[in-house]
């Protein structure tokens, strides 16, 4: 008798709850657009937030609702954008341009000295709170690795010289590191920008010389050497216009500070 009762009661409970759930699933069903799930599966799934939304699934919701541009996913690039267009039945819009993060500072500890010893929290933002950072150069990389911590793709690491290194294979250009850097040393640039000047100092040449051995001193030697007038000096920094630059390499030869880098080589070396 007891055996039968236990069957009846436990089995009955299971049946009742099963039936209740089945009924509730029908009765309280929330209509969801199946395309949302399809697009979520297409996205990289790192939830980096480069698109401006909380994560991949909320971006998918917005893009289906037409509230977000289809090419907002930076890490996914052209491929993901094309796939989204296919799902939504739109014309492809994305350009081929690939973006990557680069560190605009060459001032490792021995090249750009500290002005005082810092023993606080090992975080760049915290270090900035003590009289604007411990580095003599007020624009250079502090090297505490806040960018490395935040990178959702594991593309950043601290190099032996105390500066972050970008793994160009893994970097998707999502820009999370650029947002985290309190000194804007990391920037997102087009991978087509073959030549660039990895210095962030807007100080005048004399000040830069005192605080760093390699920083751009705005001597304008490269400006004069460039046959295509691709280089200008803005805010005491040489800027290379990638549209005009034809990679002749003359600026690299004349630069006294050896601060002009060839991204083509950086990408090739990896």
């Amino acid at each position: 008798m007891e055996l039968v009762m236990s069957f009846v009661i436990i089995g009955g409970l299971g049946l009742i709850f099963g039936g209740l759930l089945a009924y509730a699933a029908r009765r309280f069903a929330v209509e969801e657009d199946p395309r949302v799930e399809t697009i979520t599966d297409l996205l990289p799934g790192a939830n980096c937030g480069a698109c401006g939304f909380a994560g991949c699934s909320s971006f998918a919701e917005k893009v289906v609702a037409g509230q977000a541009p289809v090419d907002s996913c930076v890490p996914g690039g052209k491929k993901v954008s094309d796939n989204i267009c296919e799902v939504l039945g739109l014309e492809s819009v994305a350009s081929e341009d690939r973006k990557i993060a680069q560190v605009f500072c060459m001032g490792s500890k021995d090249i750009a000295p500290d002005k005082f010893e810092y023993q606080g929290v090992r975080d760049c933002k915290a270090a900035m709170m003590y009289s604007g950072g411990f580095k003599a150069c007020t624009y250079g990389c502090l090297g505490l690795g806040t960018c490395v911590e935040v990178c959702p793709f594991d593309a950043l690491s601290m190099g032996e010289n105390g500066l972050p290194k970008v793994d160009t294979d893994k970097c998707t250009g999502c820009g999370v590191c650029a947002k985290a850097c309190p000194r804007n040393v990391i920037r997102i640039i087009s991978a087509r920008n073959v030549k660039y000047v990895p210095c962030n100092s807007k100080d005048r040449g004399k000040v830069v010389r005192e605080s760093c051995e390699v920083g751009c001193i705005a001597c304008k030697a490269c400006v004069k050497a460039c046959p295509n007038e691709a280089i200008t000096v803005e805010n005491n920094l040489a800027v290379i216009d990638s549209a005009k630059c034809d990679s002749c390499g003359k600026c690299i030869e004349v630069c006294k500070r050896q601060i002009i880098k060839d991204l083509g080589k950086v990408l090739a070396v990896k």
Partner: protein, 192 residues
Amino acid sequence: MNLLAIIFVAILANNIVLSQFLGICPYLGVSKRIETSIGMGMAVIFVMTLSAIVTWLIYNILLAPFGLAYLRTIAFILVIAGLVQLVEMILKKTNPTLFQALGIYLPLITTNCAILGVAVLNIDAGYNIIETIIYAISTGIGFTLAMVIMAGIRERLELVNMSGFVRGAAVTLVSAGILSLAFMGFKGIVTL
């Protein structure tokens, strides 16, 4: 007076996490930020109360009269899991704001041992329905209290300069132990 004693004991003296060591998993897993710990706490209070009422009814109407008390664990697990699913569906349809606020915590606590623990403890203590409700709510509040204190401690620990091998899980467990010791101070103030 008895109800006041139940409230005091459930929140402080016999805190579900710090004295009875139930629900440690969400306690360590979701206590990184104060905001999320409050969200989790609210969801636990809600589910705990609801499941305590339903399991009390099922035990006293279906199981005990037929001498099937030994089946309570399996019956309670079934009931709690089904109930949480049901609540989730209804909330999603009727109150999307609350559904968003409780978020992923609802399905997470389906299998929380603190929920089952309270359902079983209610039966063991022989509470009537009103005492059951009061006990479930105060246990949920005690859980939330422990979560929020822990989240506050962990938010501060994030900014402390310490060696790598104690950082993270190690220092969290040590501080949880000290917090638990502190709560032992409430023992013996009231006896039920």
